[in-house]
């Protein structure tokens, strides 16, 4: 494997370096999750296993997937969890063997669970826990309900999100509201949900391409897992694509406007950043360099950057960017401490031509101090930068409302 890092630099677990094929599975939990996985099936991505877990027998039987698991027959008798996360949780706890069998031998599990409902919110944390016990890296995509679905669902979603953060390596909340910002006025509800699924599809496709396509600069599974050294931290995730005369610039612009990055949830500065570029045969090293310089400037020069680039002949004149970043704050360390020892400046940032100052110490060493810097990224307070924080119900009122509510401002 070609890699930009000296081997000693990365916290590689020896067992993932064996030459067996990588098992990657996408599991949809609950109604929304199953729908999203169904949609992925149409993309026909090879070497990607798909599965669905639901309490609702009827909904599951309509799915075109091969691997379908009905859980909680004893609790719900094959009917749905009826929007009650406690019921969803019980259903999953009652069928742990079935779920454990489904996640057995997986290296990477993508969990898609719409939060706010019963099965998605209740069962997903259990599935994540079992997958993690089976040794898999678990990345969850969690669509959050639209505001029009009502306050109760939003509240449930919030609680479920907290639960799922405890058991997954990375949780990427996708507030449906934020995704809707890009939608044209007058869009139907059906389209709105389809659009939300499309984002998950793009995300998973991006990571899939990263792992299974060979290209300019490979990202292997070990590098991917090194981005997630701990659990419960916040995850930054963004997608951008561009075409035209200068696809690289267009992609960067589209990434900048990505609604997922506009929320205050996502930190603007991260400790570890994984960047994956997909482009046509005309993707030059020069463009890659330009994009990387811009991204490291935006997301933190001190970050540990892992990058990958893949050539897709089917995408002439087009560039797609996937960024995944994690931060130490709020995280509980999972891997041994040696994984977080101070590192020299990552070689990748140096090659991008930026005048990166050497990293003196990892931010991991002082999580207590950074707790406040995170989320309330000082840059977003503008005029109120150096004033006391203005907290009301856990939100800093000095941070612009549009940023906290994830409104997309079209300029």
């Amino acid at each position: 494997m070609e890699n930009h890092f000296p081997p000693g630099d990365l916290p590689l677990a020896p067992k993932i370096l064996t030459d067996r094929t990588l098992a990657v599975k996408v599991i949809g939990v609950g109604g929304a999750g199953t729908n999203a996985v169904d949609r992925l099936k149409m993309e026909s991505l090879d070497r990607l296993q798909l599965a669905a877990i639901d309490t609702d027998h009827q909904a599951l039987s309509a799915s075109p997937l091969q691997e379908k698991i009905v859980i909680g027959s004893a609790v719900t008798h094959g009917l749905s969890a009826g929007g009650d996360p406690a019921l969803g949780h019980d259903a999953a706890e009652g069928d742990t063997e079935k779920i454990a069998a489904a996640v057995k031998g997986c290296d990477l599990v993508f969990l898609i669970a719409g939060l706010g409902g019963g099965t998605g919110g209740g069962a997903a944390p259990v599935v994540a826990k079992l997958a993690a016990q089976a040794g898999a890296l678990v990345i969850a995509f969690c669509p959050l309900p639209f505001s029009f679905e009502g306050g109760r669902r939003l509240k449930q979603a919030d609680e479920s999100l907290r639960a799922i953060r405890q058991t997954c390596d990375a949780v990427i909340p996708l507030p449906n509201d934020a995704l809707l910002q890009a939608a044209a006025p007058g869009e139907t509800t059906l389209n709105a949900f389809a659009r939300a699924d499309e984002w998950i599809g793009r995300a998973i496709k991006g990571v899939w391409a990263m792992l299974f396509r060979t290209g300019l600069i490979n990202v292997d599974f070990a590098s991917l897992s090194s981005v997630f050294p701990s659990r419960g931290g916040k995850t930054l995730f963004g997608l951008g694509s561009g075409e035209g005369a200068d696809p690289a610039a267009a992609a960067l612009e589209s990434l900048r406007l990505c609604p997922l990055l506009a929320t205050a949830e996502s930190a603007k500065k991260v400790d570890r950043l994984l960047v994956h570029l997909t482009g046509g045969a005309d993707l030059t090293m020069e463009r890659v360099n330009g994009i990387m310089t811009a991204l490291t400037a935006q997301f933190g020069r001190d970050a540990h950057v892992i990058m990958g680039a893949v050539i897709d002949e089917a995408l002439p004149g087009r560039v797609e960017i996937v960024v995944l970043g994690t931060s130490e704050q709020g995280a509980t360390s999972r891997r041994p401490l040696s994984a977080q020892r101070p590192r020299p400046a990552p070689a990748a940032t140096a090659t991008t031509g930026g005048s990166t100052p050497p990293v003196s110490a990892t931010t991991a060493a002082k999580p207590a101090q950074d707790e406040f810097a995170f989320g309330g990224d000082t840059a977003s307070r503008g005029y109120f930068d150096n004033t006391e924080r203005n907290l009301f119900e856990g939100q800093d009122l000095d941070v612009p409302t549009w940023q906290r509510q994830g409104l997309k401002i079209v300029l």
Partner: protein, 405 residues
């Protein structure tokens, strides 16, 4: 002394400007406004003094201007209090009426008031106001129970307290000018006083003074202030939101955009509807979509009102706010702000109007706090109507609001 005309300076050390209005009290009864001094403030953020020297300089300058325009020395100062450090709690007390004939005596009144106010404050806090809620006699609401017949007397207080050192900072700024601070009055109460009539307060009203750095609110019911509060969000937050959202590097540009194109309700849906940033077609001028500006200001307005409503909690009952929401303060000039308030508070909303006798140059919403500082002390409302019963109540009022500096 009693018959001498007294010159009182009403000082509001605001986040954007310092206002001093000079009022002349003749025999403690009639008030005429004789002077005005104002200057942009420095060293004040979100209603609190952060740079003592800078704040002192501009307050003293404003006081000088005011004295100059009044043509005389100011005798004493009424000072407005705002800022995030203010907090309040409610406390209630009840006593059995002591007299055998169940007639409420003045002693009973004193007793119950003292009991209700006796709550200890945390370290480092000082009381700004004890706001008395209406008396209840055997559960029934009575404005003044003395000499009435009953068994059980109850009274509730809304006690407003603030950080000792912050309050002291404000007072020291004024003392530096060698003038006495006679009264400390909550900004929200002052604005409320200026913007409502006794009738409004009787029917129930919510007054919101949206300043540059803070939003002060007071909820009136049954003629008394029931609850007050401060949200440290004001006009500057709107400006800051705009400058970050529209990626402007200049707060002045954002401020101008807010004043000209901001709206409390997002109306514009047309993405092609654009406005010029500077409007001078010079280098650096560019077009910005009106929808984006309105989206940003509308989100902030809505959130601000929702925060106020949450802070009022169960005390806010739309059906008991018959006089509606009354908006004032510099940032209330935002377009459609009453529509947004009506939506969030579920009652009609209007912009506050000072009493009719106030001159044109002091009618702007930014002056309502300073005006209220003078009115508050007047005891009797200037209209003179509905004042028949007020002398007693006014006297008590005055006692309760005495300075605790």
């Amino acid at each position: 002394m009693l018959f001498r005309n007294k010159l009182v300076g009403a000082v509001e050390i605001g986040t954007s400007k310092v206002t001093v209005i000079v009022g002349q009290f003749a025999r403690g009864r009639s008030l005429s406004l004789v002077g005005l001094g104002e200057c942009p403030s420095r060293g004040v953020v979100k209603g609190s003094v952060t740079d003592f020297k800078a704040a002192s300089d501009c307050v003293h300058h404003a006081l000088e201007l005011a004295e100059h325009s009044a043509g005389a020395r100011i005798d004493e100062v009424h000072l407005a209090q705002s800022g995030a450090h203010l907090d309040g709690f409610q406390n209630e007390a009840e006593v059995r009426v002591s007299a055998a004939d169940n007639m409420v005596s003045a002693l009973d009144m004193d007793n119950v008031c003292r009991l209700a106010k006796s709550k200890q404050l945390p370290e480092g806090r000082t009381v700004i106001h004890h706001l008395r809620r209406p008396f209840r006699l055997d559960g029934r609401l009575v404005p003044d129970p003395e000499h009435l017949d009953g068994r059980r007397r109850e009274v509730g207080y809304w006690t407003v307290h603030g950080d000792e050192s912050r309050v002291a900072d404000h007072i020291h700024v004024i003392r530096g000018f060698n003038v006495r601070v006679e009264e400390l009055i909550l900004s929200s109460l002052a604005s409320g006083e200026a913007m409502t009539t006794p009738d409004d307060r009787q029917h129930g009203a919510l007054v919101l003074d949206i300043g540059a750095g803070t939003t002060d609110f007071v909820l009136y019911r049954d003629g008394c202030a029931l609850l007050t509060g401060v949200v440290p969000v004001g006009g500057q937050h709107f400006t800051n939101d705009l400058s970050l959202g529209l990626r402007l590097n200049n707060q002045d540009q954002a401020e101008k955009l807010k004043q000209h194109h901001g709206s409390a309700v997002a109306v514009s849906r047309d993405r092609a509807d654009k406005v010029w940033l500077n409007g001078n077609l010079a280098l650096g001028d560019r077009q910005l979509p009106r929808a984006a500006i309105e989206q940003i200001t509308a989100a902030r307005t809505r959130e601000l009102f929702e925060v106020v409503r949450k802070k009022l909690g169960a005390n806010y009952e739309p059906e008991r706010i018959a006089a509606g929401v009354i908006l004032t303060g510099g940032a209330s000039r935002l377009a459609a702000v009453t529509d947004a308030a009506a939506q969030v508070f579920d009652v009609p909303a209007r912009l506050g109007e000072p009493p009719a006798w106030v001159g044109d140059h002091l009618r702007a919403p930014g002056y309502s706090t300073a005006l209220g500082l003078l009115l508050h002390n007047l005891g009797t409302p200037p209209e003179g109507s509905a004042a028949a019963r007020r002398p007693t109540a006014g006297g008590l009022f005055r006692k309760l609001f005495s300075v605790r500096s």
